[in-house]
């Protein structure tokens, strides 16, 4: 069954890659905070450094779940009511990147300024 073997090999390779990746990212990336209050982001504009991976801590203070989403920097994560979520972002080149709350897009709009 050569195909079984090739699938197995690819899985093992993927796991090995993840293992090395874990050790390669030892340095803690800079952390930034964002809150969701009344279906709005606070602050609505957040500035982060360019060409750097950052740790985004998003706190949902509403009583309903929200999905943090960005097409511009390709992230999506559901954040449950009154809880916090960690999302790693970047490295990104300088620019303006939009993000939004998919469950409340009428109000939950924000911009990530990368500079």
């Amino acid at each position: 069954m050569p195909h079984r073997i090739s699938i197995l090999v690819s899985v093992v390779l993927a796991l090995a890659a993840m293992g090395t990746a874990r050790t390669a990212v030892a340095a803690e990336p800079p952390s930034f905070r964002l809150a969701i209050v009344n279906h709005r982001f606070q602050p609505a504009t957040l500035t982060i450094p360019a060409n750097t991976k950052v740790k985004l801590v998003v706190e949902n203070r509403d009583a309903t779940p929200e999905e943090f989403e960005s097409n511009d920097f390709d992230r999506e994560k559901i954040i449950l009511p009154n809880s916090r979520a960690v999302i790693f972002v970047g490295p990104l080149p300088p620019g303006r990147y939009r993000f939004f709350g998919e469950f409340n897009p009428a109000t939950a709009q924000g911009v990530l300024r990368v500079e």
Binding site: H3, D74, A85, F88
Partner: protein
């Protein structure tokens, strides 16, 4: 109401596109309808359970449980699709020939049905759990027109899925399984790249640098064609290098696997034509 319908539509569309391709690819397999419905039923049940347990899932793996879970669901679907593509490489020709002969069902092993149920269930589970959480939030917030929005979004998403399905069925039988296999490989490559995006988001995998290109001005993933292409072939307007790398590796591995299986089947087939259909 339109805002509700739009979100539901987006989620349903993603699942519907995947279901359509897998449903088309298992054409001619007996009891396919039952498997499809079973997969959808299991998926809806799974979506409810995932939504209920969202808090617990999120807390796993020191806060990145959601990403690990999503990546796991995507990779499980990829493995099932890979199995099917390789299975089809060894049985597809006989399948197409038999279908042309009698124009209906053929005797096959359990493989296509298992794949159909599993992939459909996983796709519905993943997108469905988001819809459940969204609707729960609306209920808690006291919003109206919930049922109408849900129905409208569901109907629109399913319609596009059906259009794709019946469009695929128009492909001549001679090329049919070749075409669905190619679509499945692109789908699997895209889903793998998606899984990698979740692992990067969780910091379990390095992005391997800045995004390779920015085609968001040309085709945004938020647009309907952009979103459809994202699901179907893994289109990303700003892909991380690791995503493209894994996309290519998946497509290549599946292509090679297909070729090996097809050659092996050809040998068995010419040796004893009866045995080829029973595997």
């Amino acid at each position: 109401m339109l805002a509700i319908a739009l979100l539901v539509f987006r989620e349903v569309l993603e699942a519907a596109l995947i279901v359509s391709i897998v449903a088309a690819a298992t054409r001619g397999v007996p009891r396919r309808g039952a498997a499809l419905l079973g997969g959808i039923g299991l998926g809806v049940l799974g979506a409810l359970l995932v939504a209920l347990g969202a808090g617990r899932i999120a807390a796993l793996f020191s806060g990145v449980g959601q990403e690990v879970f999503n990546a796991g669901v995507l990779l499980a679907a990829v493995l099932m699709i890979a199995w099917h593509v390789i299975w089809m490489a060894s049985h597809g020709r006989a399948l197409a020939m038999q279908m042309q002969d009698v124009g209906k069902s053929v005797r096959t092993g359990a493989s296509p049905l298992t794949v159909l149920i599993t992939v459909v269930a996983l796709a519905v589970l993943r997108e469905g759990s988001e819809v459940v959480l969204f609707l729960y939030g609306l209920l808690a917030g006291g919003a109206g027109h919930l049922g109408a929005g849900l129905a409208l979004g569901l109907a629109a998403g399913v319609t596009i899925g059906l259009l794709l399905y019946f469009g695929l069925l128009r492909i001549p039988l001679r090329h049919f399984f070749g075409a669905t296999n190619a679509l499945l490989i692109l789908l699997a490559a895209g889903l793998t790249a998606d899984a990698m995006a979740f692992l990067v988001q969780a910091d379990l995998l390095p992005a391997l640098g800045e995004p390779l290109w920015d085609s968001s001005a040309l085709l945004s993933e938020h647009s309907l064609p952009g979103q459809a292409l994202h699901v179907l072939v893994g289109y990303s307007a700003r892909p991380a290098p690791v995503q493209l790398l894994v996309w290519l590796a998946t497509a290549l591995l599946l292509g090679i696997g297909m070729r090996i299986a097809s050659k092996a089947a050809h040998r068995t087939h010419s040796a004893s034509p009866q045995r080829a259909m029973t595997g």
